[in-house]
Amino acid sequence: MEKKAAVLAVLGLPILFGCPGPKAGGKGHPRSVRRKTHGASSPKTAPGEPVALREEFGKLPKASEPGPWMRLLERELEASRRGIKGDKSCPAPYFLGYQATVSTSFAVTATLGELSGVSEVRGGYVGVELRVGSHRFDQTHFLDRIWAGVAGETTAVSPEDISVRTALWKATDRAYRSACQAYSAVKAKHETAPKEERVSDDFSVDKPVQYLARPKKFSLDRAHWKDVVSRLSGLFRGHPHIEQSGVQFRMTVANSYMVTSEGGRIQLPESSFRLVVSAGLHADDGMSLECVLSYVGREGKHIPSFARLERETRQLITDLEALRRAPVAEPYEGPAIFKGKAAAVFFHEVLGHRLEGHRQKLRRSGQTFALKVGKRIMPSFLSLYDDPLLTSINKTPLNGFYPVDDEGIAARRALLVDKGVLRGFLMSRIPIPGLSHSNGHGRRAGLTIAIPRQANLVLKPERGVPFSELRKMLVDEARRQGKKYGLLFTDVSGGFTFTNRRMPQAFKVMPVMVYRVFVDGRPDELIRGVDLVGTPLLTLTRIVAAGNDFETFNGMCGAESGWVPVSATAPSLLFSKVETQKKPVGRFRPPILPSPSVSARPGKGGSK
C-alpha cells in the first residue's frame, strides 16, 4: 500500500498538497546506492527489458435488492419530473438526478503521545442535479457555472418519507431556480461572446447503469485507533528540534443512493480512511520545513500495521532532522531522476490534469493537448492510461477505485497515451469535439456537476532498467552536459499547475527529498529549498529512460468539482533536463530558546 500521499493539482485555482513520504529502503533506493559510482555512457531511448505490471481487479461489492432509500428517491423523482412543467421563462428540466447519502465518520488527533481531539459525526444529505435546455445546449454550456442546477440539503439519516421528500423538494426547487438563471445567462452570452472555437454538445447521451450493492455498516475499534494515534504521536517526544507535530486519523463510511430520470439506479457503499503524520521545524536560516506521511485508502484492512507506521514515522523524523542540516540548493538546470512516487505525482500534475476532457473545450483553458490526438507528445516507450476498475497494482491497493462514476456511468479504462502518441482524454458526460461519450470518469465531491477527473493513473514504459542502471545513466548524462552533479528527487509534497490561458501554462512541483548525485563519485548529498518548475510540452519530451521499479502514490486530488480519491503509479524516470528554483524562505528564524526536552509521563499533567 502506499506510504504517502500527495495531493494534487488544481488548475488555475488554488492548489494543494499532501506531502513527503517515507523512504522505505529497498532495492534501488538512493540510500542503498548513494556510494556507488559508475562509468559514463550516453543515455539511449527506451533502454532495458520489457516491463510488466501485476494489475488486479478486485471483487465488486455484492449485488443487493433496492432498499427503501431507492424506492423513496424513485417515487419522488418521478413526482418532480411530472410536476415541473416549465414556462416561458424557463423550460422543464430534461434531466433530473436524485442522490441521498448517509455518512458516519470518526476522527481522532494526537500530539506528543496524548490525544488532542476526538469527534464522531453522523448525518444525512440529499443532492439534486437537474439540467434545463437540451443535451445540445443547457445551463452548463460555457462550464463557468458548474454549480448551477445542483443543490443539496440535510435530511433524515433514515429513509423517513416526509422528511426526505421535503429535503428533496427544497433542493429541487433551489436547483431549478439556479439552473433557470444560468440558462438565461448562457443563452445571452451565447449571442454576445466571440464564436466558440470548438463546438460540441453539453451533455452526452450515455447508457445509464443499474448497480445495487449492499450498504455498509460503520464498524471501527475506536479504542484501538486512539491508541495507535497516541503512540505514533509519542514518537516525537524525544525530538525537541521538531517544533510542531501531530497525528490524525479519520474513518468514514458513506452509503449513497442515486436515481436519474434516464433510468440510472445506483446503490453504492463507500468507505475511506486517512491517517496523517506531520511534523515541522525551522532550519537555522529560517526556512520552514515540513514532512507529512499520509496513508489514504478505501478499506480498513488496507491500513498499514503499527510496526510499519512506527518505522516510517521514525524515518520521517530522521529525514526532517537531515533536511534541517542539509545545504540550500541553488537554481539548477540539468538532468534528474524522479523516483517512482515523485514521477507518479509529476505525471498526475503535469499531464493528467491537462488530459481531463472538459479542459479541451473550456474557453478559458490553455487547451494544451486539445488538437494533439494522434500526435506524439512524449517518448515512444511510454504509455499512459487511467483505470478506475483497478483495485491494486503489484499488490498495492489503489485509492481511485470505483465501479460507477458520479454520473451513474460504468467506469472503464481510458487509454490516454499509447507509445508516446496521444489517444484520448478522461471523459465525463461533457462531450468534446470528436469524443461524444463518457468513459466513466465523471467525478465530484461537492455541489457541482461532475467533471472528468483522474482515478487510477498508470504510466507504463515498454522497457525499463533497474534503478541502479537509471542512476548510472543520470551520472553519465550529467557528465556529458558538463555538470558536477545530477539531481535525484525521491519525494514530493505535491504541486500545482495552471491550465487557465491567462496564466503561463506552467507547473510547479514541490519536492521534499532531493539529492545531488555527483559525477566524481562522492556520496550523494541531501539538499533543501528546491522547487521544480517547467512547462508540460517541453518537459515531457525530455524523458530519456524509465526504470522497472513501479511505485504508487495514493492521495486526494482537489479541483473544481471537489476532493476525490486518486492514485498514480509510475516507474522512476530519467529526464535529460529539468529546471529548479529556490523555495521561499520562512517568516521567522528558528526558536530563540531550545524546546523543552524534559521527559514527562503522558497523562500526569506535570513535567519532571
Binding site: G117, E120, R122, V157, S163, R165, D173, Q244, V598
Partner: protein
Amino acid sequence: MRYFRLCGFLVVVACVLSSRQARAGQADGDGIFSALRKEMDRNIKGLRLKGAPAPYFFAIQYTRMMAVSHTAALGQPVSRRKTRWAAVSGLVRVGNYDKDDTNFYGFSPSMGSTAGPLEGDGLALRRAAHTIWDSAYKIAVERYAKKEAYLASHPKAKRCNDWSRVQVRPWQTRPAGTFVTSPLLEKGILAASGEFRRHAHVLGASVTWSQMEGERFLLTSEGLRVHDRAGGAKVAISLYGQATDGQYMTLGWSKTLPFSELKPARLGLVARAKAMAEKLRRLLEAPTFDETFSGPILLEGAAAATLWTAFIGKGLRADMPPVAWASGRMVFEGMKGRRVLPESVTIVDDPTATRFRGTRLFGHYVTDDEGVAGQKVVLVERGKLKGFLASRRPSVETKGSNGHGRDLSGWSLSPRPNGSNVFVKVRRPLSSKSLKRKYLSLLRREGLDHGYIIRSFGNTGLSRAGFGSYGTSPSIGVPPPVEIYRVDTKGREHLVRKVRIQAVQISDFASIPAVGGPERLVNVYVWTGRGVSLVYRDFIFPKMNLTRPATSEQRLPSLPSPLSRLLTPRK
C-alpha cells in the same frame, strides 16, 4: 430508531466518563499549572532578541472542551455530532505598560494557539507554550517596531497608555455540572420538529440541542491563575416560509442555559414550535409595507432591548480605536456631564448583582476576565453621561479598569470592555397603556394619521457577544423588523411586513419622548458561565425613516411542498 436509542445510551456512557475525566482533571490542575509555570519562567528569563524590546507580559491558557449537538427536522434526526478537543493559546506583550506592541492596527495582542493534549501532559503543554510564545514574541517585536515608526511620523496619534497596571485576583470556579442526558430532551427536539409537519406553510425548520462543557487553566506573568470550569446547553428552533409575493421570512429562537437550569419539560418546545409556526403564518399573510414613513416609533419588548443594547454598546464602552485608525475617537469621547438620554433615565452596570426579582442574572461575576474585581458603575445619571465600561486597556476617558474586561466570545484571551448586568432605570415610568396613548398623541401632534410599533427585530438585541458591535461612527444600524404593526391614531394595529429602517443617530436618544411599560429582563447565558443581562423598559424613539427594502423576491416553488400535498385534502 434502535440505532438512536443505542447512540443515546452511548452518549450517556460517554458523558459519565467525561465527568469522571473532569474530576481527574481537577486533581491534575496543579501539575498543569506547574508545567505552564516552569515554561513561563524559562521564557521570562530567556526569550529575547538582541536589540529588540523584551516581553513584559506573558499569558498562557490551556482549555479542554467537549461538545455534543443533535439536530432534528420534521420529527426525524438529521445529524449528531460529538467532539472533544484541547487547545493551548498564549500571548506576549513587548515594551511596557505605557507603550507596547498592541493598539496599533487592531485590537488583538500578539498571540498564537495550537492543539493541546486532552489529559494535560506536561511536556506537550510546555512544547506548545514554547512554540506559541516564540512566534508571538517575534510578531510583537515586528509590530512594536512598526508602531514606533508610525508614531514617529504621527506624534499625536497616541493619546493614552496601552495597558494599565492592576492587582489581579486569581479565581477558581465550581464545576458547572455535566451534560444533560435526559431522554426527555432528545424526545423534546424530535417532537418539536415534528410539530412542523402540521404546518404546510413552514417550508423548512430545524430544532437543535447542543451542549458545551469546558475547563481552562490560565496563567499570566502578573500572577493571575485561573482554573475555570463551565458549560451550558442551547436549544434553538429556526423555520422559514415564503409569502405569496415570493418574500422569504425566517423566524429563529434560541436559549442557552446552565446545565443546572436546563429542564427539558419546562422548555415547552412543542408549544413553542407551534406558536412559532403560527406566528410565521401570520407574518406570511400580512400585507406589505407600501409607503415611506418618517416619524416617531414605539419600541416594545425585544425591539426596545435591541435599541438599548445598541446605545450601550456603541456609546458607553471605553474602547479606544487603535492608533492607526483614521477615525480615532470613541463615540461619546469628551461628553461626560452632557445629556445623552432623557432626564428620567439612569443607566447602571452592576456585575455584583446576582438576581433580579428572584431570577438569576447571568451577567453576574466577582472577577472579570482580566482578573479585576467587578465594580458597579453609573454610566448615565438622570440623562447625563457619567462613566464608561472599562477594561485594562486605557482610554482618554478611563485610566484603568473598573472590572469590565470581558471575554464573551469564549476564552479567547482577548477581553474587551463590555457590560454585565445593565439596568436602565426610569424615574416615573409610564404604564404600557399610557406609553401607547402618549405615542398616539405624538402622532396626532405631528399630523400623522398612523405610526408603527415594533415588537421584535428577530433577535433579543443582546447576544453572546454582549452589547452591540464595535464602531466609531455615531450612527446605529437598525436591523429589519420582524414584528412591526401599523397603528392608527385610534390605536388599531395591523401586522405588516417588508420594511427597512434607515440607520439612526446615537444623539437622537437624548430626545426620547417617553419611557415606560413593565420592567423587562433579557438574560443571555454564555457557555463559559459568564453572560450578560439587561433590565429595561419600552420607549418611543423620536424619529425613524421606514422604507421598502430594495431586495427582489424569489419566484414561488414550481411544485407544492410534500407537506402541503399531505395536509391539503384531495378534492
